[in-house]
Structure formats: C-alpha cells, structure tokens
Symmetry: C2
Subunit: 289 residues, 2 copies
C-alpha cells in the first residue's frame, strides 16, 4: 500500500500515516496538499493522509476545500500529538546556537522555549522535516531546526532538546482519503459539508435532524462561502455511519433544509481518550522550559 503525505520524510504527516496504517506501508512524499489528492485520484497512490485541524492553529481550510474539489472518500481519522524537538548537527550544542529555522507554526508553537535561548534568531522555512534537511546541508553547528524525533533520526542528526512545544495539548487531526467508500463498522463518525439559506433559525432546524434522532455531533464549524460571504458552509462531524439507516434518514431530512450537501465519508472513530491519557502520562516526568 502506497500512502501519499505532504512534506519531506520525517514530516508529522508521515508519522501519522505510519501510526495509522503500520510500518508495512510505503509512504510517498508530496510537495503540496493538492498533489496528494491528485495522486490518489489517479491511482498512483492507494491512500492519502491530510491534516484537517490543529488544536492550536485551527482548521486547515485548504484541505477542507480540496475535499470538496476531488471525488474522494474520507475513510479514516487519526489524532497525532505534535511534539517538537530542537535538532542540530551531531556534536552541536545549545550554548553555541545562533539561529533556529522551521515552519512558522513550529516556531510559534515553541516560542516559549526559544525565548529562553538568549540571542538566538529564528527564520521561517517551508517545512519542519525540510528544516532538518537544510541544517544538514548547511553543515553549520550554530543553526538548528525544529521538527519531529523521526526527522532527526532519518537525517542522522542530534536532538538538542525535546518536547519544546508551549503546550502539551498540541495535536493535529488527520483524515485518510481513498477512492472507495468502506464500511467503518459500529463505532463510526461521519463528516459532512452543507450550505443553507441564511435565514433566522435555519441552523437550528438543520441540527434538529440530528438531535431528534439522538445523533451526537462531535464538530461544528461555520465558514462564509467563498464569493458569497453572507452565506455559509457548515462542517459537521457526527457519530454514526452512512451505512446505518438512521443516518441515511437524517441525511434525507437534512436535504430538505440545505442548498448543498456533500457526505465526505464515514470512518472508524479514533479512540481519543487513549491518546490523551497516554500523552499526559508521558508529560509527568518532563517539563518544557
């Protein structure tokens, strides 16, 4: 199985792909998110993995838009706790550091630690794992990168500090995309997007479709429609699968209120509680600066 992800080897997306599918897969690095959708659509890759929201930075609208543009199905989700390492050349030391480079998000998410390094400058580059590659090519021990532990290992670099992120509750939600719908089984979630006329109380009517059937919402987000900012798209995730009759009836009911409705896919629900408990335990013995 070939799984497309965005970024260089060692990117957080690749870590999520390996955690979700297991180490037996082949991962295919892509330059941009759109490349993932194209490679999966054309059958060059079997699956794609895309970040959809981050607990610190919010929704990644670019991927929300691509989900609407391509006729692919969401068949899985994965929550990855993002843990940043400061990575330098073998033998590099924190004391002699002059510059730290990484993706702007990684720099922002680690700025409390970075501020503790006096006189060190930061410079944004396009990619976390890519920043490790750049430091390796520069061969300058005074420059360090911020990326995953895996990126340090892939490029044979040293970890100068770990868990440097401001908050332990920094996780990214990924979705897995495929050309074919799959039955997700019993404990499932479904992602949909819809638009409706902007009338008073119309959202309440739409939500009654779920509430009256005891269908639990796990996410709701309104977003102004591109080009028509007084109309809205609603992104909703709810418990249940499109293979269940109750959900099919809810979708038929919802169509009565919507001007647009797209079912992005149904997928097994990620066991979130496990991840977070595990992350909290790991945090007990270590404190960020």
């Amino acid at each position: 199985m070939i799984v497309a992800f965005q970024g260089e080897p060692g990117a957080y997306s690749e870590i999520a792909a390996l955690a979700y599918f297991g180490e037996g897969i082949t991962t295919e690095p892509c330059e941009g998110f759109e490349d993932i959708f194209e490679k999966v659509s054309k059958g060059q890759c079997d699956r794609g993995i895309i970040p959809i929201e981050n607990s610190v930075a919010g929704s990644i609208y670019q991927n929300c838009d691509l989900l609407l543009q391509f006729p692919l199905e969401v068949i899985g989700e994965y929550y990855l706790q993002v843990s940043h390492c400061l990575i330098g050349l073998p033998g590099a030391s924190l004391e002699n550091l002059e510059k730290v480079i990484s993706h702007p998000q990684a720099l922002a998410q680690s700025d409390r630690f970075l501020k503790s390094l006096e006189g060190v400058k930061y410079e944004p580059v396009y990619d976390t794992a890519g920043s490790v590659k750049i430091v390796k090519e520069m061969k300058n021990p005074k420059v360090a990168a911020i990326a995953s532990r895996r990126a340090a290992e892939i490029y044979g670099m040293d970890i100068l500090a770990n868990k440097i992120e401001n908050t332990a509750a920094n996780y990214t939600r990924f979705q897995v995309i495929s050309r074919r719908r799959e039955d997700p089984g019993k404990d499932a979630k479904t992602s949909i997007v819809f638009a409706m006329k902007n009338q008073a109380g119309v959202l309440y009517k739409a939500l009654s479709v779920f509430a009256l059937r005891d269908i639990d919402l796990t996410k709701i987000e309104s977003r102004p429609l591109v080009g028509k900012p007084w109309d809205y798209f609603f992104y909703i995730d709810f418990a249940g699968s499109i293979f269940e009759e109750k959900v099919q009836r809810a979708m038929a009911n919802l169509e009565e209120y919507t001007t647009y409705l797209r079912i992005l896919g149904s997928y097994p629900r990620f066991s979130f509680r496990d991840l977070v408990l595990g992350a909290n335990e790991g945090k007990k013995d270590e404190k960020t600066a």
Copy 2:
C-alpha cells in the same frame, strides 16, 4: 486616540484600523498580538484591533485565546478585503525578478500568480509590510515583497503587479477591543464563548436558547478545550446586543446548560453586503494571472 495593531506600518491591520476609525487616529505598531492586549489593558493605547478570522485561512485561535485571557471588551468589527501587491525597488521589473519574500500566508494566497513568474523563488518572512522594509534595505531590484498598496507607499517602493491574490473573496475579519463596554445601538452583534458537558443533544439545547427567541446566529465554531480535547469551547456570534432584555434573558437561559460562559462584547454590525459588492465591482475590470 491611539490604536494598537500588530505588524509594521502598512500592515493590513493598520489599514483596517484607519478604515474603521478614520485617518485622525494615531496607530501604534506592536510586535505580537499579546502586546496589543497588554497596551490596551494598561491604558497605553485606547483601542486595539485584532484579526479574528480570514476567509481563506480560518480562525486565528491565538487571538481567540487572548480574548479569554484579558478582561477587555469587543466593541467593534471590520471586514477588510485583502488585496496583495507585488512590490519592488523603484525601477525594478518583473522580468528580472529572482526572489519573492512575504508572510507565508501571503505567498500561499498569491501562488497562482507567483507560479506564472518562471524561475522565481519564494522565501517566507514574518510580516507582509515587514517584507517591503526588508526589500528596501537589501537594495536588490531582483527581490520583491508581497504586501498592501499602503506598505508600498509608506516605503516609497514600486508596485510591480496588483491584485495578485488567488481569490477576490479573501477578506479578514477584525475585532476592535477596548477596556470599556459601549452601547452598540440597534443593529448589533454579540460574540460569546461557552463550554458545556459533552452530552448528546446538549448543543441543540443551547441553540434552542437563540432559536426560541428568534435570535439569528452569524457564526458558530466548536473547538476542543486545551488539555481536555473531548470537551469543547463554542464560539458563537449572534444578532443583538447585551443591552437588550431579550439577549440578557437568552444568556441567563444559556447558563443553565453551560459550564463556562463569557460574553466577549456587543458591537455595531459591519455592513458586509456593501464591502462585498464593492469588491466584486472592482474586480470586473481586472483578472489575476
């Protein structure tokens, strides 16, 4: 009146401040968003202006968080259509361009145009207006910046191309913050944040508070609580002001379902339709590459 904004002179935030308050104000550049909140809290500035969401990039959670941390009131909103210019030294030309620098968002939002410039590299820097300052200091006509028309004027630079953004529907919503609540008058909006136990149908109950009183929602967004990702914050904007009895009753009713409720503020509703119609008209005579 002194109004704090984030970025260098010529930043989109400064343009929004001048458009909202008029040219008579003094604008105070701040390095980070937190500085805005601190300067307003301490009385060093009278008002602050913060970007809260962008139609392409989504919500700016950092400012949502700061609104909860500081005891300030939201007293205004403004929607600014973001229009990027490619800016170079006087006499610079598109043909000889080798590199374009700007904030990563501005680079991403203009990538269709940038791809039409063959062999040109991009490099992210921290700020749009700041990128113009850098190009000016570099004195290299082969490097250009992406920023506002105002930034080009402030630094005495040439506009090599304008309206280079991918989509005309690229606007940022700003909120104005102050130490004191103000009566917004009749056509108002109110922003609130609340948390509730994650039980089936509880959001529906919360929304009934608005629906049963014919209070129209203009924005809804769920966001996992930091540290408790199975619980949620809900960000809701609705029509009406906290000075109205109907809204006060709705808030008292909402408290029956919430574990946390904060009224961020009530403010005059921005006349959105005007902005968008104007923007579309301006777009008729010009096409991006």
